[in-house]
Symmetry: C2
Amino acid sequence: MTTHDASLIDVARAAGVSTATAGRALGGYGQVSERTRERVLAAAAELGYRPNSLARSMVTGSTHTIGVVVTDVANPFFATALRGITDVTSPAGFEVLLANTGGQLASEQRAVTVMSEKRVDGMIVAAARPGEGAHLRHAMDAGVPVVLIDRQVSGVPDADSITVDNDHAAAEAVAHLVELGHRRIGVITEAGDQLARVRSGTRRRGLFPSAVRLRGYVSALRSAGLDVDETLVASARYDRESAYDAMTRLLGLAHPPTAVLCTDNVLASGAYRAVQDRGLRMPAEVSLIGFDDEPWTTLVRPGLTIVEQPTYELGARAGRQLLDRIAATEGPRRPQHIQLRAKLVARGSTVP
Amino acid sequence: MTTHDASLIDVARAAGVSTATAGRALGGYGQVSERTRERVLAAAAELGYRPNSLARSMVTGSTHTIGVVVTDVANPFFATALRGITDVTSPAGFEVLLANTGGQLASEQRAVTVMSEKRVDGMIVAAARPGEGAHLRHAMDAGVPVVLIDRQVSGVPDADSITVDNDHAAAEAVAHLVELGHRRIGVITEAGDQLARVRSGTRRRGLFPSAVRLRGYVSALRSAGLDVDETLVASARYDRESAYDAMTRLLGLAHPPTAVLCTDNVLASGAYRAVQDRGLRMPAEVSLIGFDDEPWTTLVRPGLTIVEQPTYELGARAGRQLLDRIAATEGPRRPQHIQLRAKLVARGSTVP
């Protein structure tokens, strides 16, 4: 559909004034008589004239738009964080240009390039591959501030980051189980293939949250003087059925775990189902801990013990941090790496 | 943070060519020698030159951006629809400018104006107030195609719309209960104050989905030869606690309902909890139906019977419809009003 878009020239002609006068009248600056102003406004309304932000942005250098790049906006974690971002940036007059990468690096690279060319004033990025930051490096070098959320990224140590302290979150969950007397504690994780790396105690950036949580699990076991038993580390893909299978495998071991930590909510829902289907009682026969406080965790009986991430706050803090960077007029400042604390909420799946 | 943004002029100067030549070399059009092209590209890389989409959009009249306006992106319904939209529009080269209105009309009006001024190529809108469409009328009159999702809006009958057939969805749920022998069927609804209006059989646009579902409930009872008992219509706000209270009121009636329909997922979760807390058995003592297939509905025992909305499809269809409108070069065509069918999924909360 194409319709003729009235220009400033059209408005000026219809009002019988110069373009400069029409611009002053519509912009509300400079000297214009009240009568002329009214005539210009009437002509603009008549012609359906819309101010053009593109033209304004070309002059001011600011689009009042920020880019937000997430892996899956349908994931409640990112949907809630996004709400936190818009609740902070919208009242400040910034719109959000959203990209959903599906966790594909190529898609993220394209989105970052397009957003940069659309001249966003800054970006908030949940990276598809924490090990790959070259495209973000490029955007920052071009003067676009980047705030990382949920995961740090290699190659851009100077980008601000807002993450949850996943080491601490997982370790606290394990410590809770140790305190309850558990000695055989399993984990269902997407990062099973990185067990060797996290056992080596790597502190490097560029790990997925799932790998950081696995690291927290390992270090908490060690702190409690327990060995890491590789048969208790069950790999699963990010879906409920895969987690169901992983839990079933753990429960079928000759020496099964008495408690299991699931490193996210989807995995926990599959594991919970597997316990139900085997007819095992929680917490008497097996204890379970998940991540994130989704509605189901309090509707099931027993309720699920969870590690609650400050998801909305994560988004809101990222929004504030980016607005700060955009507003800053001095040269580069030191990057801010903010780690938010998760909170253990004990329920019937671990505590009788 | 402000850094100097290299312009085409800077690139041309560094490469020792004219601006026109630099533009041709970077744009990949017109005649430029291979050696010159390489020199220009090297200069652009050296200076960190980014093409400016704003400038291109000023010339072409297209921003390759669509606006998406929803009431709450943290609501799984809209998050999933948004995923459907981006999965369709992103491969077509369109970015999404997202606004979250919190259900506030003023916020929606502002978002629509800003998006229009930012020259989006079209908009997909889940309206905060289906009765108020003047701002959408204005955008359409300015040549911006609008596709409505989830709810129709008064005043813009010429806007395309993709909605779920909520009349049919609610009626099918009630018919399921009637077939199982229920005669006292209650409803928990956000639209209780519109009972009189929906009983009058209004077909007008501008109703919230909750009101349309209440209309479906009323008409299904009538079709079954049952009276509408106002004491069985329980009003609740859009939160779990309010629905919990509404269900508790219904169960405490002298003649309580034997089955209850909840017109959305959040209301259903509160009602389910209330049944659990009163120690009533489902479906023997009371039956329950909700909307939308969230994870919890299959994790609770018994599972919840639900009306499953094609949420992802709703978004994907809206995306395709808008791309169609944007691509259409002829004059106005007749508006498309697409109604998608919801599907009843019977589980243990209604079927023993």
